[in-house]
């Protein structure tokens, strides 16, 4: 029951995105603290600012890698299994007869690194849209085609 991992090229994409978020998360409070509070920041405040910045940027660097290590998928005759999550680990199994339609999307940053996101839609109520991010774009297209092609043999009614 081994799972395949997604393309490692997706890690830089997630890192760049996370760093963008980190700049906002670290910059806004630190900037506010430094401008609004007295001109001469005490050592405690400076230390807190430094700690917060380091924490946010550290997480932005570490999380994408960890997320990548825990992300996996497996295509079998019955459908697709996706495993993800670092602390709360989910393993979702989507029978291929239940897949209503599928999408491969690619943002500008993803296009630069040649990765894409596969989206599988079911007729369910909670897990209607299941994403498998970070796939090599060609792999994503191939996966989608495989899932679509095999769909002919289904019993027709996805509900």
């Amino acid at each position: 029951m081994s799972l395949e991992s997604v393309s490692p090229a997706t890690v830089p994409v997630w890192r760049l995105r996370a760093l963008g978020t980190a700049v906002v998360l670290a910059g806004a409070p630190v900037g506010a603290a430094l401008t609004l509070l007295p001109l001469d920041p005490g050592p405690l405040l400076a230390l807190a600012c430094l700690g917060w910045t380091l924490l946010v940027f550290g997480l932005a660097w570490w999380l994408p890698g960890a997320w990548f290590r825990h992300l996996g998928y497996r295509l079998d005759p019955h459908g697709l299994v996706i495993r993800q999550g670092i602390f709360w680990r989910h393993r979702i199994a989507i029978p291929r007869v239940r897949i209503q339609h599928s999408d491969v999307s690619q943002g500008p940053l993803q296009r630069r690194y040649g990765v894409g996101t596969l989206k599988l839609y079911t007729a369910g109520s909670r897990f209607t849209c299941n994403e498998l991010p970070g796939l090599d774009h060609d792999t994503a297209l191939a996966l989608r085609d495989t899932l679509l092609r095999q769909d002919d043999g289904g019993d027709g009614d996805a509900v």
């Binding site: 019955h78 709360w88 680990r89 199994a93 989507i94 109520s125 509900v159």
Partner: protein, 496 residues
């Protein structure tokens, strides 16, 4: 039905009084404003200028009634709306899931009904025909269902015969005695009464009460409320509580009697039909193939009266917004005996309940884990106030929670169980509020196994299945605290 240049020309018209309901339905909110404007204008001598404006509403409603047509084409229901801007809608018979009628007091006085045509697309009715006479409504639903079954019979051979009877056997009726019981069990109105009382107390605060009641009480020899003895005060508080409870329950009984008066669950061909209501007659068709999950609920009060409640989750459909439900949840039986419930579940999931379920328990570590969880919560809640008021003695408070936590953990683990038959997944959970979910295995859309850090510590997994209906809040089908290996095996059994 005639055709003109390939376009169908529907010929059936609405009831002659449709404009009344169209007006009430679309412009009801505007009428008071119109009246106010008219009164204001009359004072200014502009009344006759405003009159044409006021007539716009009724004229629009009459126009709608005049141009609105519907008819039965060969393969679908045709509805035409508008004459200048024509809107021609064709709804394939095979896509029509439900034809519901709804009647409030005005409808019933005039012998007409709102007819809602529902398809599987979800998100409310596909078309609302406002209004038809009762005979026309019945003809409409009979014709549509007969043609639908005929079309389906032509394409698939395993379907039942086309000429199904309009009335089938009655599966459940609720006499007033049962409805009174339903009202006593239901707690929703209690919250409402509490909220109203709270709001009233916000406006009329204690001082006002004292000012109002003071003279009366002084006559009775009592100067102020705070001069009453502690015992009397407690007694008064208790009396108030009992009064609130009693009023809430009486309201609840009345509400149940009004809403579910004459409740009948009939078999109609392969589908189920629910009819109820004293003033607003509700008629709902439940399509058996679209039932996703059957839920059975037994609160402590239900068990006191030896009753349960049954609900079904349907695919698509907008649920019943008046009952505060969403996502296709519909009551199958607001109240019934456990034996009736079993028969109804067998009827709602035909051919699936043949196998006796072999109940499996949760992980053997569940009781332990739950007791610890409850103890942590109890400690977090009671320790700070305990230390604040009692000082060092407050440290004893967390210990007081130990028995309760142990009992809860033990009972939850004892009464929570699941079973897998060739056709069904059954999950029964809770010991005080007991919920049973019955999921046909062929309706499961996706299966998710989750392992939280706590799950990993106790070697457990949580399994959640997703279906096309409802599945929100309490109606999620989620099996927690499963042994890790058992969960993996169950997950792969459901997946294959």
């Amino acid at each position: 039905m005639r055709y003109e240049g390939g376009q169908p020309l529907p010929e059936k018209r609405l009831h002659p009084l449709s404009w009344v309901f169209q007006l009430v339905g679309s412009l009801g909110a505007v009428i008071p404003i119109g009246v106010a404007v008219a009164l204001g204008a009359e004072r200014g001598g502009l009344f006759w200028v405003v009159v044409p404006l006021l007539l716009l509403g009724p004229l629009g409603a009459l126009w709608h009634q005049w141009v609105y047509r519907y008819d039965f084409a060969d393969d679908g229901l045709v509805i035409r709306d508008g004459l200048i801007f024509r809107n021609l809608r064709q709804i394939d018979y095979r896509r029509i899931e439900n034809i519901d009628t709804q009647r409030n007091l005005l409808h019933r006085l005039l012998g007409v009904a709102d007819v809602k045509v529902e398809t599987s697309s979800g998100g409310g009715a596909e078309a609302t025909i406002r209004v038809l006479s009762l005979d026309d409504a019945r003809t409409l639903s009979d014709t549509v269902f007969a043609r639908r079954d005929a079309l389906k019979g032509a394409t698939s051979t395993d379907d039942h015969d086309a000429g199904e009877p309009a009335e089938g056997t009655t599966l459940l009726t609720l006499p007033p005695g049962e409805l009174v019981m339903l009202g006593l069990i239901d707690n929703r109105n209690l919250l409402w009464v509490g909220a109203v009382l709270g709001a009233v107390m916000q406006v009329v605060n204690v001082e006002t009460l004292q000012r109002l009641l003071g003279p009366v009480l002084r006559d009775a020899g009592v100067a102020w409320l705070d001069q009453l003895g502690l015992a009397v005060a407690v007694l008064l508080a208790l009396a108030t509580l009992v009064a609130v409870l009693a009023v809430g329950k009486i309201l609840s009984v009345v509400a149940a009697l009004v809403k579910y008066y004459g409740y009948r669950l009939d078999e109609q061909g392969s589908d189920l039909r629910v009819r109820h209501g004293l003033f607003t007659r509700v008629s709902v068709t439940l399509r058996v193939p679209r039932i996703q999950v059957v839920h059975q609920l037994a609160t402590p009060l239900h068990r006191l009266f030896r009753r349960v409640a049954l609900q079904v989750d349907q695919a698509g459909g907008g649920g019943d917004p008046e009952a505060g439900q969403s996502g296709g949840a519909r009551p199958l039986a607001p109240i019934c005996t456990p034996a009736q419930a079993e028969a109804l579940i067998a009827r709602a999931l035909p051919g699936m309940t043949g196998h006796q379920p072999e109940w499996q328990s949760l992980s053997s570590r569940t009781g332990h884990r739950l007791a610890r969880l409850w103890l942590w919560c109890w400690t977090a809640l009671t320790l700070p106030p305990g230390l604040w008021w009692l000082g060092v003695h407050g440290l004893w408070l967390p210990l007081a929670g130990v028995p309760l936590a142990l009992i809860h953990g033990h009972l939850y683990a004892k009464y929570t169980r699941w079973a897998l038959t060739p056709d069904l997944l059954l999950f029964h959970r809770g010991w005080l509020w007991r919920r049973l979910a019955v999921v046909p295995r062929n309706r499961i859309q996706a299966i998710r196994l989750t392992r939280s850090p706590f799950d990993r510590r106790y070697r457990m997994s949580e399994l959640e299945v997703d279906t096309a209906g409802g599945g929100l809040g309490k109606r999620r089908v989620r099996l927690p605290y499963l042994d890790r290996r058992v969960a993996a095996r169950l997950g792969s059994a459901l997946y294959h």
